[in-house]
Symmetry: C2
Amino acid sequence: MAAAKTIGDYLIQRLHAHGARHVFGVPGDYALSFFHELESSNLQVINTCDEQGAGFAADAYARVKGLGAVCVTYCVGGLKVANTTAQAFAEKSPVVVISGAPGTNERIKSPLLHHKVRDFDTQLKVFEQITIASTALDNPQTACREIDRVIDAALCHKRPVYIELPRNMVSVKIQPDYLPQETSLPSDDNALNEALLEAKTIINTSKKPVIIAGIELHRYGLQDEFLQFIDKTHIPVASTPLSKSVISEHHPLHMGIYEGAIGREEVRDYVESSDCLILMGTFMTDINLGMFTAHLDQGRSIYATSEKVYIHYHTYEDVSLGNFLKGILQTDINKREHTDSPHPESLQQLQPVAGKTITITYLYQRLNSFIDRNTVIIADTGDAMFGAMDMTIHKETKFLSPAYYASMGFAVPASIGAQLANPNLRPLVLVGDGAFQMTGMELSTAARYDLSPIVIILNNSGYGTERPMLDGCFNDVQTWKYSGLPDILKAGRGFSIKTEDQLEDALQLSRQYTKDICVLDVQIDSADRSLALERMTKAFAKQI
Amino acid sequence: MAAAKTIGDYLIQRLHAHGARHVFGVPGDYALSFFHELESSNLQVINTCDEQGAGFAADAYARVKGLGAVCVTYCVGGLKVANTTAQAFAEKSPVVVISGAPGTNERIKSPLLHHKVRDFDTQLKVFEQITIASTALDNPQTACREIDRVIDAALCHKRPVYIELPRNMVSVKIQPDYLPQETSLPSDDNALNEALLEAKTIINTSKKPVIIAGIELHRYGLQDEFLQFIDKTHIPVASTPLSKSVISEHHPLHMGIYEGAIGREEVRDYVESSDCLILMGTFMTDINLGMFTAHLDQGRSIYATSEKVYIHYHTYEDVSLGNFLKGILQTDINKREHTDSPHPESLQQLQPVAGKTITITYLYQRLNSFIDRNTVIIADTGDAMFGAMDMTIHKETKFLSPAYYASMGFAVPASIGAQLANPNLRPLVLVGDGAFQMTGMELSTAARYDLSPIVIILNNSGYGTERPMLDGCFNDVQTWKYSGLPDILKAGRGFSIKTEDQLEDALQLSRQYTKDICVLDVQIDSADRSLALERMTKAFAKQI
């Protein structure tokens, strides 16, 4: 690749160097010149219907590929991705938000240029709240260094960053001899060694160690090392709603999802009776902790995070999860002979009954045997996610869900990002009717770029997660004929499903139509819900 | 009405007291208890598909009714209305954003509660950037006063405000004897009187005075006084893109839209040759000024705004547009006998030609005679708006458009807000295919609440405003079969239109289906554009 000559070039080259191959977005006049540069670059522009879709798609892309990018115009585009960026922040997804902006030469005397809110830096100030680093590239002397700084922050912290690009800066020349600079987080070797020694002693003297595998294992690319660690030690593993599929759920040491009183009881019993809890990059969120029904004794915990390690009630600063995990792999940890740890329920071969009304429970059991190693499940907020918790995912990182921030509308656009990030995958989207009505028309984008998600719409006429908490008309959702959407989009196949056999037929056909979007409108009773959701909403409702 | 007993009650009563009858939104668990209170109140909850739709609907509602309200949940809901709130800020629309939030009792030790981004006050900090006043109702002692303060700010400044309502505060009792407090902007009578005297002298000694009527005349409810002023003085009036329809465009003194080189030439010539420009509440935005092609000489201007009055090169602080206008009505201003001011083109009675391909020019000319006194035109960003500039609007405030902030996706959800604000109106929505794909599915909300917009989709396969600036695949939009949407929504009528006679038939039927949503998919050539847009994009393109 030729050396970058302009600020726009340089930004594109750095995104490419860190693995991005696509940029999601919607153009606008302040961003047009950068879109024009993108079009002739080695990054492909993916146009979504709305910026919100671009934001969610870039988030999913980042989760699968390690870095995502979204490009929008000033304010009318940027502020539409405030929520998707907040989700990327909350759930540690490294998304680079690039926003066009009025040229610095257009700002003299602060004119009322279109798309301006209050001041020229209003959007920058908003994004300072919801990103880990941000910059406005208004100075050619520092632009390259600023690009390096914020992209490095995204990669170090696995959080979104914001780059504002005034349109007159896109083609400004950069220093020809500028070399990219990389920074890294501070690291304390003494603290690391002491932590490893202490952890070794605790683990080796424990009777019943357990690992709770958290999402940071995935975000920091540590899944291989983690597998080596459990294969070496044979310590059983649970994951959490947010980290579901951080390892293959067919792994013999995988017990299932731990989520306090909300998960499977045998997993909870096993975890909470452990005398040595090893938490690896786990987020201690309310949903991960089953709305705080979890009983995890800090006095028995080793808790490694991306920035520090906690053992019992003391802290080792500047010890990263990665260094801790790689270190402990070199440490002499006893191998356990065999364990009595629980396992996920084995797959059931269901016989669909013709004419029998479909239930959520049946649906998830059937989908559990439908998925394979090339399926990536993308679950939206609500029973789409809760019901899927007990599915058994074949390979690591084949389940994506906003299980902490819990923004509705993620799944359909996320399927676009996931499949572009890895074309070998076929997304299985699980989405409620409420969430589908927010962003589901991004199927148009899937059609435009020849993607093939299978979309299961849990059509229960409303916000099913909220009904058991506090119901009212405000939880109702208008009924759409979802199976007709392929006619509107002039692409894909639609299925209207009320019974077990109709589901069976639709799944078989969806498997055959390998290149098509398949929309399965699964009509379930508005009172039907998964057992997991039943338990979850009871815990939630206490707070309303 | 019984006196309010709780914080939730009080907020509802104050919204009602200031004219709101509907609240737009999407529920979520942190907002459920307030939604529950709303449901049993005298405000009707309007559920939209996505929060973005609620934000735009509330903005349009505020423009028609004087105050709008949107209610959402914490972060995942609130941050989705960041852009719509920014638009309300930029274009002075008083929208109250109410967001649920975790209870103050849930925040001890800063737990990772779902929907949280960084800190508990992250969303508040974001909204501080894009509202004129904001508050978190975390103290029962000050909650009522805070509600008064921010709602007053919305009404004084005609800007959006933000109220965060922790869920445990909704039913907290308030002081039984609390009385609402109102504040007002500072006012300087001496400055007012001097300004009036000076203005009178200048106007009466001028040869060719002209008024540019701005949007603040509408926002501050001054249209009646303004009409009295022009009827008394016979000074001719132009309006701007943002203030289009601030007076009836059939008024004999109305010349048309002034927008520099982009508008009709005879209006420009008349305005720019005036020796006394009276700007009443006009926003000096780039679009209003025709991308700064306007030549308005400050040395010949009297410029009254909501906060101060400028005469030539000096300023009268603390003199409001309202006081200035009411004062000048009492002042002895000469009545002009007759003028040579231009007028909008008279309506053309078109004969549709069977089979003749439709053009943008024909479409707008035909729509110009289709609209009547009960039509409110709602134009989205792009040629939907530019093309409509030369339509002649029958009554004041019957044209709504984001003609400054220019966010795409406004029109369809805005039509919901406008029709609920005034059920006597039938919205005529003008929207490009790009903007429709962002929020057009909010037609579902229109169907749910029995509304009847006529939606004209300018289907030209892309972002038509951008093509002449800088074109590429990024300006393409996927083709949908828009006329099939009524099948999906199980409501309304769809029309596929390629020719003049097809348009004619669809318009006639739309007029008959008075209670139905009508979707007119008008397929135009991707190179076709209105003359206004042609001139506009030439001015824009210089900046790219």
